[in-house]
Symmetry: C2
Subunit: 192 residues, 2 copies
DNA sequence: GTCTATAAATGGATAGAC
DNA sequence: GTCTATCCATTTATAGAC
């Protein structure tokens, strides 16, 4: 059983992680220190070591949490209706997830933190997300790996351009639906 | 006239920049210190200040150099022949440039270095690259901004996936030509 | 132009009292 | 579980001798 003490401990852990996410968003993924985290949660830096073994352990927990959020995000996509609609929904869902937090994107999808490698447990979550995406595509009849790879590249590219070149705008967001049509036309041509 | 002293100074500057690029590639874009740079060029750290005012000034010089390389890379693309061929060439050129140095990509296209903002002079080079890309597309009859934006997203997405998920491989490189065909088919459908 | 010496701050992390 | 105190390394950057 998780007693009161364990629940409190976990709550504080979450509070710390919440503070690191906030710092990562405002000061950059690598632009914060343990002292700043401690200050944000009204502690002294050494107290953080009661919850995380090291700064990299915090990054690892953020990595895992980010992929859990992605899994929930993907899991929330209805898979009913016409394949075109499912694809459109998933495109917007993926785009929104990416654009919502560019620090999270840098942590999950790029290799930005010097020296940081996710633990095997955390990496398993990343693999799970890949599997879930593949399952989504299989459900609407797209099962070639190349197709999924192309779709992933297309969507991550749109989102990356949006974040980097038009933050807060919709210059690339408006291209999602045309991109889905382009992709589908190409898929139908390949399949038929 | 640039006398011997000025030429020597510039040569040393280049040597320093070369060392920082190497460090950025091996230890991450933000994973190196001035001491390491100095050691690599057989100096002491304070001597670097004879060539650059600060670490951010080095990042700025790298930023400018990266865009100069991109401009040269784009300029080297022959624009003769069938539009499909020009597009294919430019796709491979862009992909190769991106994949060749992921630290450079992070510096030029993402906001990875905490606190770093390119100077106006350096940013002008970035704008020049955008203009040159637009000119290339105009030359083959693609002049809608949305088309160029979609193409940029598609190629940067392919390259990003290649670097992040299959470094050293060709899983996404093999999708370049199919992606060009997909893009062209969509463009022809829009135009005609 | 490069050095030594050092400032002045900050980093992650540990020891040990309470 | 959190603190103070501190270690020890490292950071960027400056002063001033040579």
């Amino acid at each position: 059983m998780t007693d009161r003490r364990a629940r409190r401990h976990e709550a504080t852990r979450q509070e710390i992680l919440s503070a690191t996410w906030q710092l990562a968003r405002t000061k950059g993924l690598t632009g914060w220190s343990l002292r700043e985290v401690a200050q944000a949660v009204d502690m002294r830096a050494p107290s953080l070591y009661g919850y995380f073994d090291s700064k990299d352990a915090i990054y690892d927990a953020m990595f895992a949490q980010g992929y859990q959020q992605l899994l929930e995000h993907l899991g929330g996509i209805p898979t009913d209706g016409h394949p075109r609609e499912v694809l459109r929904r998933s495109a917007h869902a993926f785009f929104d997830f990416y654009v919502a937090d560019s620090a999270r994107h840098q942590l999950l999808f790029l290799r930005v933190v010097p020296g940081f490698e996710p633990s095997v447990e955390s990496y398993a979550l990343a693999q799970e997300a890949v599997d879930q995406l593949r399952a989504l595509f299989a459900a609407i009849g797209i099962d070639r790996r190349e197709s999924v790879d192309l779709w992933t590249a297309l969507l991550s590219g749109l989102a990356s351009q949006q974040v980097s070149n038009d933050p807060g705008g919709d210059r690339w967001a408006r291209l999602i639906d045309p991109a889905v049509e382009m992709f589908l036309a190409s898929e139908l041509a390949s399949a038929g």
